[in-house]
């Protein structure tokens, strides 16, 4: 029994470290600002970072496959702008929602195909995706458009009380992230598709030689990434009840940082979405602490997150060096 516990710890060390860091940061926050000890503050993390969580989940799979997707934030902006415009034009939300998902999925599919078949670096292709998406958003509207649709408002304003916690609540969109997390966790760990992603991230050539469906898997990973970006965009537009091309500025960096801090190797082949969840939570906690402080503004988040990312990358680099020397 002790052996099993020990090997569990060793095998999941990065994840456990991330969780511990989250607990520490949250604890520090609670000590500095006692108001943070209220349960709602914890649930606010899920509310405020709902879209970040969703796009980071999709991004995790992409990074595990040894790729990268910089377009995530752009697709959020595009989704918000497109939704707002379509809703204002009178289209029913029940049409708009699936349409947006379709759009994101298609963009992801196109990018994934270019990456695999034209053999262009994912970095460049998804960069282009980022520009294109934001650009299209700006074409749709130059200023932010309000969303006053009833369905959206319902989703945005309905509080769901949490059993067991008085005065604690979540909004409906905030639930999407955790649900998606569980689904993706299951897929990544318990399906052939998921294991293939890890194999590709470890060594794409070997995966091909092993007869795994590399092309199909890679393209699906990016397609799914696009889907998640659109989903995140929907959640984003619900929470802001507006759409604009300038939204989610640099959110792709927050997403990448969350994934890295969550223990996923930027070089691919290892990691999991649970870690990403905690990466997002850490990000959110740092932001909360700064908000409660009130005097330091948001740029300290950047430095803090940047420093944390650096530390994690440094550790990852060391691990890689050790592996190569073995």
């Amino acid at each position: 029994m002790a052996q099993r516990v020990k090997s569990f710890i060793v095998n999941n060390a990065p994840l456990l470290v991330t969780i511990i860091i989250f607990v520490i940061v949250y604890f520090i926050g609670g000590q500095l600002y006692p108001v943070m000890k209220k349960p709602q503050v914890f649930f606010n993390l899920f509310i405020n970072n709902a879209s970040l969580l969703i796009i980071s989940i999709g991004l995790t799979l992409v990074i595990i496959s040894k790729g990268i997707d910089l377009s995530v934030a752009g697709i959020i902006a595009l989704t918000s702008a497109a939704s707002a415009a379509l809703l204002q034009a009178g289209m029913s939300p029940w049409v708009v929602l699936p349409l947006m998902l379709l759009m994101g999925t298609t963009l992801g599919l196109i990018m994934g195909s270019i990456i695999h078949y034209f053999k262009v670096e994912p970095f460049i292709v998804t960069l282009m995706g980022l520009w294109f998406a934001r650009g299209m958003a700006y074409i749709i509207t130059l200023t932010s458009l309000t969303i006053s649709d009833d369905v959206y408002r319902f989703l945005a304003l309905t509080k769901i009380p949490i059993p067991g916690f008085e005065k604690a609540y979540l909004y409906i969109p905030s639930l999407i992230g955790p649900v998606l997390l569980l689904i993706v966790f299951y897929i990544s760990k318990y399906t052939r598709f998921g294991r293939t992603i890890y194999a590709i991230g470890n060594n794409e050539q070997s995966a091909e030689l092993m007869g795994l469906p590399v092309a199909r898997t890679k393209i699906i990973v990016y397609t799914f990434g696009g889907f998640c970006s659109a989903l995140g965009g929907i959640v984003f537009s619900i929470s802001l009840l507006s759409g604009y091309g300038g939204y989610a500025n640099s959110m792709e960096l927050d997403a990448i940082s969350s994934v890295v801090i969550g223990g996923t190797l930027l070089t691919g082949g290892a990691g999991n979405v649970i870690g990403t969840l905690f990466g997002v939570l850490i990000n959110g906690t740092i932001v909360s602490i700064l908000q409660f402080n009130g005097t330091l503004s948001s740029w300290w988040t950047r430095i803090g997150v940047g420093a944390l990312t650096l530390i994690f990358l440094g550790i990852q680099s060391l691990i890689n060096l050790k592996k190569r020397n073995v």
């Binding site: 095998n11 052939r192 060594n203 007869g211």
Partner: protein, 506 residues
């Protein structure tokens, strides 16, 4: 260790394969019997990996017949070969170190239940496969947490599972294993043999060939030298087949006179006292004199390249002393060695030697420029002057000095690298396998050049698998075996004596 029956699983006849500029295989025959362990040996450039590539469908032969289990086959792809039952396991373990052992064995064909993987069934199956190999480990642990030997065995297990292999090809499986692990591996191989799997065992460890194989096929320079029952050929004969002349010729020629050195300096230019690097080469004493060519003889893996790397400063020794020009040296790096006047033509021409996209001219002046530093840039005309000088001197065949080096043939690329070092006017030039993969004409040129350099007063180290070459160009021959410098020969010595030293049967 007996073959079960005499039906040949694989029968290849007259296989030839050429690449631009190089004839990799020349009418090679190869046969593999059911349930035998068959060793495939030969030095670098012999054709082993090309033969395997043809066997496993990575390459297609230019001519020759290929029969698998009695039927002529045309292998479309590596996947096709695997489906037939031919499974290669390469030296670099191409598995996922972060996934579990069971996952690695069954990746792509995991047993399913419902919507996902049936982990219980998968782990069970993995344990079954491994127990057939007399191995029992916790298959749920990540692969990377196990020793290289076990990772190798996992790779083998996967190969077996994937294709219910009839033929298993192990390419240098023991290179990163210690004695214990090798024994483990051999046990697994014997078990497989009992189960009727035929194994091709590629290795450069002669001892292991004798320990485990039933038959041996020797390749040399792309041609078949012969195949033999292991029990019928002695070590000495085997090595002769690999790198020496025909045994009959030995009895005809009594001795070969090594080159008489006229201008060999008394004082050694470089000498080492018990210099060593653990894991790489055992402590050795070596003296190199200006005006003398010292040849290194020994098989692949005997430590020749490791010595060269220590001499040139790529590796740092961890014990012993190194003297150059009488002074003790404690700082090592390629640049420092170049400044002292040492040059190295590395064995791995492609990865460590040429900068493929750069031109001939740029490759040639690279080392002199390194020595001159960042600011004293050779003028364009000076660069062309130097490049042209060496293109002519070494007879480098290229349309112009501005041709990217990667477009040149192997022989000419080697000459470019030589030119690079000659341009630095070194006092000591170390050449590691300078004639590998080069046509006969160029080989002769380079050998002549080495002697010329010695005559000009340089110290030279000439490393080659071709014993003939080493003897023809050296004043003194140092023999290495199993990462150790064994002995030295000079003056009149017979090729046979050197072969015996290499084989370890003296």
């Amino acid at each position: 260790m007996m073959a079960n029956n005499h039906q040949n699983v694989i029968e290849m006849k007259g296989i030839s394969k050429s690449f631009p500029g190089v004839q990799a295989l020349d009418k090679v025959d190869f046969s593999l019997r059911c349930g035998e362990i068959h060793a495939l040996v030969g030095e670098n450039g012999a054709g082993k990996s090309t033969l395997i590539k043809v066997m496993t469908g990575v390459e297609k032969q230019d001519e020759g017949s290929y029969q698998f289990r009695g039927k002529e086959v045309s292998i479309r792809s590596p996947l096709h070969a695997q489906e037939l039952g031919i499974s290669p396991v390469y030296q670099e373990i191409n598995l996922c170190s972060f996934l579990s052992v069971a996952e690695n064995i069954l990746l792509g064909r995991e047993p399913k239940k419902f919507a996902g993987i049936d982990f219980k069934a998968m782990n069970q199956r993995a344990e079954e496969i491994l127990s057939e190999l007399d191995v029992s480990i916790d298959v749920t642990q990540p692969l990377g947490s196990y020793s290289t030997a076990l990772q190798q065995i996992t790779a083998i297990a996967r190969a077996l599972e994937v294709s219910s292999a009839k033929v298993l090809i192990l390419d240098e499986p023991t290179s990163s294993l210690d004695a214990n692990e090798t024994t483990k591996l051999f046990r697994v191989m014997r078990k497989l043999q009992e189960n009727g799997v035929a194994i091709i065992f590629i290795t450069h460890f002669i001892d292991q060939v004798y320990e485990i194989s039933d038959r041996i096929t020797v390749l040399r320079n792309g041609a078949l030298v012969g195949n033999y029952d292991t029990s019928d050929i002695s070590r000495f004969e085997l090595i002769t087949k690999m790198i020496g002349r025909n045994l009959e010729d030995f009895d005809e020629m009594s001795t070969i006179k090594l080159e008489a050195g006229k201008n060999i300096k008394e004082e050694p230019l470089l000498n080492t006292e018990q210099l060593s690097l653990s894991g790489s080469i055992k402590p050795f004493d070596l003296e190199l004199h200006e005006g003398e060519v010292v040849g290194f003889a020994g098989l692949l893996g005997s430590g020749r390249t490791e010595v060269a790397r220590l001499l040139f400063g790529v590796d740092q020794p961890d014990s012993g002393k190194y003297y150059f020009g009488g002074e003790e040296i404690n700082n090592f790096s390629p640049l420092l060695s170049i400044e002292r006047g040492i040059g190295l033509c590395p064995e791995d021409r492609k990865n460590l030697g040429i900068a493929g996209d750069l031109t001939v001219r740029e490759n040639i002046i690279l080392a002199i420029q390194a020595r001159l530093g960042w600011f004293k840039y050779l003028s364009s005309s000076k660069q062309y002057e130097i490049a042209d000088e060496y293109i002519e001197l070494l007879n480098i065949s290229t349309p112009s000095a501005d041709q990217p080096v990667k477009n040149l043939s192997g022989g000419n690329q080697q000459k470019v690298i030589l030119a690079r070092w000659l341009a630095t006017n070194p006092r000591l030039l170390i050449m590691d396998e300078p004639t590998r993969g080069i046509d006969i004409g160029a080989k002769a040129e380079i050998q002549k050049l080495v002697l010329l350099l010695a005559e000009q007063g340089k110290a030279c180290v000439f490393i080659s698998s071709e014993l003939e070459e080493v003897l023809r160009t050296s004043h003194r021959v140092v023999v290495l075996r199993d990462k150790e410098m064994i002995t030295e020969f000079s003056g009149e010595v017979g090729e046979r004596k050197i072969m015996e030293a290499i084989a370890g049967t003296d």
